[in-house]
């Protein structure tokens, strides 16, 4: 017997999901231990072992793979706990990272803060201005060396940085993605001066290796962020790896990447771990969508701290169209696009007296410590979870399967003091308003995310995941014009579930401008080798990397995406290439037509302008090795009427403050059978979550125990 284990660390809870070789799934949720993430990690492993009937040591010895979406790097950025780095750049470009790109002061902050222009400030830089030096030597935009690099100059600048306390170096020179010669020379000089066998050896990170892409600001920032979190991540993950090895785990720890795949810790670039949790959830949603024959999916995950939204079109996870932000920095990593807003079970409700005592929810979260008032850890703020508890939706004795009893009196007291009192309304009414407000915010964001990307929301199935997703699905789904929501069986730990089924995958990318259709000659590209050479180079890199992980070439699948645009246009559109290698003009034409079709779908056919020329600007080659996963079998449907044992009681719940509390039937999810239908109002208590079936909605369990919530017409 073996297990695939996925671990997803969130702002409030750490989720665990283990899939056994026999297809049996074990899940667990525990508070995220921000003071030391490995404490929660090992606590969860022990509990999974216990629930599977093993001692921890025996269990770990049987685990095939531990796939971990970690927030260690993210935390290091937030806490600014990285090392003092020195940046070596081209002379004259020393201020690039401080000037930023466009309105970089607004990157990575919530909209309401970005609007506060009077008080907005640029983030404290990861590298101080006095730790940046410029070296002479220049490569031009065609990759030719126009001024040689001076070794003497490099040594002088290096000494300056060392004297100022540098503990590592980032090298980012102009046009290094076209010709990395100078960057590699700088690295060689540093390694000669501070060889690895000396205590003073210092890590060197080159931009041409981390992000060989056009755009000096984003290339440099991607490299800086990577170097900044690298050491801390290595230290933490090595410690965790040792702990796991001591505990009996014999295989390498695998990290989830924000590019939609997984890699061993030893083969992972640190920057690819940022915000990987929601991407793991999206991967799970795409798989489940395939199973349910729903290829257009809006994935939503309402956890304790944030509400994540991802759009899956035609079964594919899409990377960011624009440059993704890591913490406060715009980077150019090929990360899967997930939007997060501060709306979760722990989001704090507050009165905005500057806006005429308007009720607001979030974006601040009570987190796991002190958490909502009802957690009884000293928290006094009102949160969405407190509102749900007061409304009767949550069972105070069965929260997290009874592991964390809730105190409803503390919730009532907090709502009374902070919301109901100032607004002059009752506690129930206040709780109901908190809930409605957060539902509206989430619904509006989902609508924006789908509609503003040029999609018709009505053609999408909404997947409601996360510990609070099933509790709020009926509330936010109507805002996007949908009447159906799918709540996956593993919804409360969907990020961990997605991680446990992820394949080995990495994306190799490089900027190269290739004119597929020349506007001046109105002719297609004839030098096909210029395209094929880039693809072959990326393929070689990926094969070499995956061979080092122990995979043979015949197991590797490739997928090519291209950033394309019309001539003289600024923005790029990502196009999945139908083939890796171009054989003739027909292949070039096919690619151009595909681009025009995609462009027309998004911006309307009138906006397409092929005669202006069509260029490729960047290549992304994803290499993937599929992992074995247990087969999922559906169960034969039972009748619509749930078994008597499934009805575990009833409790007062409020669905309309004008009516007050009404007695709502309560069902046990584990006792329900596929095919069972429940009409609202009703509550379903499941491991790690509670389904709220509002009046006018019905719930049906499908063959795979997913819940289909449908609003009756």
């Amino acid at each position: 017997m073996g297990f695939h284990v996925g671990i997803d660390i969130g702002g409030t809870f750490t989720d665990f999901c283990a899939i056994g070789d026999d297809g049996r799934i074990t899940v667990y949720k525990t508070s995220t231990t921000h003071y030391d993430l490995s404490v929660g990690f090992m606590r969860g492993i022990r509990e999974l072992a216990k629930r599977s009937g093993f001692r921890s040591q025996e269990y770990l010895a049987q685990v095939h793979a531990l796939r971990y979406s970690t927030t260690v790097g993210t935390n290091a950025l937030i806490e600014r706990s990285g090392p003092k780095l020195g940046l070596i750049t081209t002379a004259g470009f020393e201020d690039t990272i401080f000037i930023g790109r466009s309105r970089s002061w607004a990157d990575g902050i919530p909209v309401h803060e970005a609007r506060d222009i009077a008080r907005i400030a640029k983030p404290a830089p990861l590298i101080d201005p006095d730790m940046v030096v410029g070296v002479r030597g220049r490569i031009d935009c065609n990759g030719r060396v126009v001024a040689p690099l001076s070794r003497k100059d490099v040594l002088e600048k290096l000494q300056t940085l060392v004297d100022r306390g540098a503990m590592g170096f980032v090298v980012s020179l102009m046009w290094s993605f076209l010709n990395p010669e100078h960057e590699r020379m700088v690295k060689q000089i540093i390694e000669e001066e501070y060889p690895e066998d000396y205590l003073g050896a210092m890590p060197v990170t080159l931009s041409c290796e981390i992000s060989p892409k056009c755009g000096e600001y984003t290339r440099t920032m991607t490299t800086v962020v990577n170097a900044y979190i690298h050491g801390i991540m290595a230290e933490n993950l090595n410690k965790l790896g040792n702990e796991l090895r001591d505990g009996g785990y014999k295989r390498p720890l695998i990290l989830v990447h924000n590019t939609g795949g997984t890699k061993k810790v030893s083969r992972t670039k640190a920057v690819f771990t940022h915000n990987a949790g929601p991407v793991a959830g999206m991967h799970g949603a795409a798989d489940l969508g395939e199973l349910l024959a729903r290829r257009n999916v809006v994935f939503t995950d309402m956890g304790g701290t944030s509400f994540d939204i991802g759009v899956i079109v035609d079964g594919e996870l899409r990377a960011h169209d624009f440059l993704p932000v890591v913490d406060r920095w715009r980077t150019n990593i090929p990360a899967i696009e997930v939007k997060s807003i501060g709306a979760g079970g722990g989001s704090i409700a507050w009165i905005n007296d500057l806006m005429g005592n308007a009720l607001e929810v979030g974006p601040q979260s009570a987190g796991s410590m002190p958490g909502p008032a009802c957690y009884d850890k000293g928290g006094r703020e009102v949160t969405v979870t407190d509102a749900d508890l007061v409304l009767g939706y949550l069972n105070p004795d069965n929260y997290l399967d009874g592991e964390m009893p809730l105190d409803v009196d503390l919730s009532r007291a907090a709502i009374d003091e902070k919301i109901a009192g100032p607004l002059g309304i009752g506690v129930l009414e206040a709780a109901y308003r908190v809930r409605r407000l957060v539902d509206a915010r989430m619904g509006q964001e989902v609508f924006n995310e789908v509609a503003l990307k040029g999609h018709d929301p009505r053609k999408f199935a909404v997947f409601a995941c996360g510990g609070a997703g099933p509790t709020h699905a009926c509330g936010f789904v109507p805002y996007i014009g949908a009447r159906v929501a799918v709540v996956p069986a593993m919804a409360p730990v969907f990020g961990a579930f997605g991680a446990s089924t992820m394949d080995i995958r990495q994306v190799w990318d490089v900027s190269r401008t290739i004119k597929l259709f020349r506007w001046d000659r109105q002719a297609y590209l004839d030098d096909l080798e210029s395209f094929n050479h880039v693809v072959r180079e990326l393929k070689d890199l990926s094969v070499r990397d995956l061979r080092l992980e122990g995979f043979s070439e015949d197991r590797i699948e490739f997928r090519l995406e291209l950033d394309m645009r019309y001539g003289s246009q600024h923005n790029l559109t990502k196009v999945p290439a139908p083939r890796l290698i171009l054989q003739g003009e027909d292949d070039v034409r096919e690619l151009c037509e595909l681009f025009t079709k995609l462009y027309s779908d998004i911006y309307s056919p009138e906006a397409a302008f092929p005669v202006g020329g069509i260029n490729i600007e960047c290549f992304y080659l994803a290499a993937m090795v599929r992992q074995e996963r247990p087969e999922v079998h559906g169960e034969a449907p039972a009748g619509e009427e749930p078994a008597a044992a499934a009805r575990i009681g009833s409790r007062p719940a409020c669905f309309d403050p004008a009516v007050g509390m009404v007695e709502a039937p309560v069902f046990g999810w584990l006792s329900l059978a596929p095919g069972n239908v429940i009409s609202g109002p009703a509550l379903i208590e499941a491991p790690g979550t509670t389904y709220v079936i509002e009046p006018g909605w019905s719930y049906r369990m499908d063959a795979w125990r997913n819940g289909i919530l449908q609003q009756q017409s």
């Binding site: 003071y35 030391d36 606590r43 009884d376 850890k377 000293g378």
Partner: protein
Amino acid sequence: MPFLAHFAPGGQPSGAFFLPFLEGLAAAMENRMPAALTADATLWANAVPRAARLVDARAIAVGVLPMIAAESFGATVVRVGANASVVARPDAPVSEPWCAAPLANLLETSRRLAETVRPERELAVFLSGPVTLSLALFGEMPSKSILEVLKAGLLRCLELICEARPDVVFIDEDWAGRSPEATPELRRFHNTLKNVAEYYGVGYGLRADGIADAPGAIASLSGLRVAHLMLGGDPEGALPDACAAAKAAAAAGWTSLGLPVAAGCDVDEALAACDSDAVAAYLCGAAQETDIEFLKSVGLGIRR
């Protein structure tokens, strides 16, 4: 072999062991008064492990000196040797007691010891509880309103101690001869503290000192729903009957019981109680102990 580490997940100590209170001895070894320890975190954190090494103690307890918290909450305390008494009460408790000596020094000492004593030794930190503080600051048993006043400060102190990650935190209560009662307010108060300790993966226990009727108190205090109880002496310092206490603890459902011993007492009787199957019992100091021969002999007795 870890003993206190088992407290955190609600487990029992893995066998009999001895948790002596060595701050008095540590001060004597440094030729200082105990009050000098609490005034200097460096001295405190260096001296106590030295005393533990001297008597080969497997676990270190800090914060057992009386009235440390009360002083930081604003009471004026006079110390004579290891004893302390409140001579003036504040108009209102200090709002940030963790910033004021000697509690601030206890926090710093806990941080340093948590970094340095393991793996040879384990660490238990003692923090005065609401009953002790209420008697010291208000002169009465804690009412609902007093608990409200004390809660935020005590909670933050506990959080800061737990951030240092000791193996266990004991809430140290001196009932000063009053009959302990597990009121609903007190139970809720402990529940909040217990939840915080649990979040940090730190064991949470209660030390009950100054109780006249140990078996009665053991039964009564079980209503607080704290898993681990450590007994102190009665108001005159007399030690409870170990066997009766163990039986009472087993009947009341305590997970573990600390039985106090002091120089001159019958340690064998306490050891016999530890060996009985009634409850997972271990030995602890009754108060600050400076008799080195006694401390060594108890440790040897257990190992034999």
